[in-house]
């Protein structure tokens, strides 16, 4: 019997959702419709189907026998499978606008499937899409693993290159994912320092691994601002540095300069940004940010001609 790919995936899902205990790969290959009896081909098909189901949120549980370690079985946790969300037809209609809003392909795809799922809840009262567009940064590979770890309150380990610190392994209690200023960040407690930190996902190298048991910590009340935001005072030439001005308060200083005050939570990235304005924006205080800008300008003054 020729079984199409979507049909085989449905058969796998229904088999794993109805198995009284669990199914081994052997049992899946023998009993679920559509799988090849060839070893390599079966492995390929099964891995692909499993990945697809997981990527749409199907909780496939892997059970290992405590005595026979290679005796691996699979099942679907039907309680975890179910959506716990009730929405009115107006809310479903408004949520459906998400399909029109996203401009970057991975988010447009995710929104389209999310909307299909919420439209299973009830009829939708649809409204017109607004002439507007949201261009969110493309998600990093670690995003799904981190979301999963947050949901389960499990610690994670990953290799991270900080802006001012060398590449090394970090262990973190993950609290929340934040999209900000074109990038994705993880907010959580750094286990080494014990303090709240932000990690930019594009600086995470390789895999994120979950470590330790589920429910290992509580997520405390927290501000999504990075730890201490500090006020930076900057002298800005009239009419210059418009994007800095938009983020702070401006008062006149002298005939051709204004005094600008901005709250800054990422001093290193901020120093890089201000240095970009050269003589048009001069940091007066605090001293460490001022020194940071000067050091960057000194480096820039020595920039070489590319061969």
């Amino acid at each position: 019997m020729d079984v199409s790919h979507p049909e085989r995936i449905l058969d796998l899902l229904i088999a794993l959702g109805n198995t009284p205990v669990r199914m081994t790969k052997q049992q899946i290959r023998r009993n679920v419709a559509g799988y090849s009896q060839d070893d390599a081909a079966f492995e390929r098909m099964f891995e692909r189907d499993k990945d697809l189901l997981r990527s749409i949120g199907v909780p496939i549980v892997v059970d290992r026998d405590s005595i026979h370690e290679d005796d691996v079985g699979y099942r679907i946790d039907l309680d975890a499978y179910s959506m716990d969300l009730s929405l009115t037809p107006e809310e479903i209609g408004a949520l459906s606008l998400a399909r029109e809003v996203h401009q970057t392909a991975p988010w447009r795809d995710a929104a389209r499937r999310g909307v299909t799922k919420v439209r299973a809840i009830d009829e939708a009262h649809d409204s017109d899409a607004p002439p507007v567009a949201l261009e969110l940064a493309v998600p990093d590979d670690s995003l799904d693993a981190l979301c999963e770890a947050i949901a389960q309150r499990r610690r994670v380990r990953f290799t991270y290159t900080g802006l001012s610190s060398p590449t090394r392994e970090r262990e973190v209690e993950p609290w929340r994912i934040i999209a900000q200023r074109r990038g994705w960040y993880l907010l959580g407690r750094d286990c080494e320092s014990g303090e709240q930190r932000r990690f930019r996902l594009s600086r995470v190298r390789g895999q994120v691994t979950e470590t330790g048991p589920a429910g290992a910590f509580e997520i405390p009340e927290h501000s999504i601002e990075a730890a201490e935001a500090r006020e930076v005072t900057i002298l800005v030439r009239s009419g210059k540095a418009a994007s800095l001005r938009a983020r702070g308060s401006v008062e006149a200083y002298d005939a051709d300069r204004d005094l600008l005050r901005i709250n800054v939570s990422e001093p290193i990235e901020f120093a890089r940004e201000v240095a970009g304005y050269g003589a048009d924006a001069v940091v007066l205080a605090p001293a460490d940010i001022r020194e940071g800008v000067i050091a960057r300008l000194q480096r820039a003054a020595k920039v070489a001609d590319d061969a």
């Binding site: 039907l78 979301c147 999209a179 200023r181 594009s202 999504i224 001069v282 003054a301 001609d305």
Partner: protein
């Protein structure tokens, strides 16, 4: 383009979810609900009808009752999947981000629904998308887009040049941190994108300007912007800077990260170099960077720090 398997599987499961508590449903309603033709719904039902638990005897299979004359459907047996599938983390983030952003945009008829959605999704999603609130000029631009009319803006460019521009706005967008308007610009005689936080003032175009903007747009041939290729070396510690550049070709070398890119403007690159992340760059740009860095260092030298 054929539909992706992952989208089809998502809809198949959502159909089961919808039919779990909606009975005797017209196929036309399902088509409307899931945004596909009725013929596709019938194909989906045909596929579901032959899936089930291993053995695949009649009692193992998903079953519907279908009223052929009226074209109405009920689910008789869902094999455990007469339930709604949860949102995957990525889908939940895509929906929450769209809601958060549509709220910030203050879209008319759905405002109440968006408010309640934000609260419901907050408990479900471990992520926040920080969205800058829309600048004051947004409303005026929205009105102009709706009316297909021109506006005159006073604008500060990324190079800090102040210009007055007659534009025909077409689309408003945001990447989560800044807002943009895209449209036809009479000064550039081409399509341009402007950051709203750099719009200093805005007024409606008068009758004559209106006519001249529309005429000029009609009569402007599409021309490609002047571009050049740039090559530069980025400090490995700032690798993410290179990775964030759209369309950049990146390769690792012993002396740093080599980046090659085709661009219309180079001012952003000069800024990046002033920020100290660039080690070497095309000679004309290197000269500019060195001059501007020296000017800036002189400005720091003559300006005492505060405190």
């Amino acid at each position: 383009m054929p539909e992706k398997t992952i989208d089809r599987v998502t809809r198949l499961l959502s159909l089961l979810g919808y039919l779990a508590d909606h009975h005797d449903v017209p196929v036309a309603e399902l088509a409307q609900q899931f945004g596909v033709p009725e013929a596709q719904i019938l194909k989906d039902i045909d596929l579901l009808w032959v899936t089930g638990t291993p053995g695949y005897y009649p009692d193992d299979l998903i079953d519907f009752s279908y009223d052929d004359a009226e074209s109405r459907l009920s689910l008789r047996e869902g094999r455990g999947f007469d339930r709604k599938i949860r949102l995957a983390p990525r889908e939940a983030i895509a929906l929450a981000a769209a809601v958060q952003w549509l709220r910030a945009a203050g879209e008319g008829e759905s405002v109440a629904a968006l408010e309640s959605l934000a609260a419901k999704l907050a408990t479900l999603v471990p992520a926040v998308v920080e969205t800058a609130s829309a600048p004051a000029v947004r409303d005026a631009l929205d009105a102009a887009i709706d009316a297909h009319s021109a506006v005159v803006i006073e604008y500060v460019s990324a190079e800090d040049e102040r210009t007055e521009r007659l534009i025909l706005p077409e689309l408003i967008s945001t990447d989560g941190s800044a807002w943009y308007v895209e449209g036809w610009c009479a000064l550039a005689r081409a399509r341009r994108t402007f950051r709203l936080d750099r719009v200093l003032s805005l007024r409606a175009a008068d009758g004559a300007e209106q006519v001249s903007a529309l005429d000029a747009r009609e009569n402007t041939p599409q021309e490609a912007a002047q571009t050049r290729s740039v090559r530069f070396l980025v400090d490995p510690a700032a690798r993410y800077v290179a990775e964030d550049l759209p369309g950049a070709q990146i390769s690792d070398g012993p002396e740093g990260i080599r980046v090659r890119l085709t661009v219309a403007r180079t001012d952003w690159l000069v800024r990046l170099a002033l920020g100290g992340a660039v080690r070497a760059i095309d000679s004309d740009l290197a000269a500019e960077v060195r001059t501007r860095a020296s000017d800036a260092l002189a400005a720091y030298h003559s300006q005492e720090p505060l405190g």
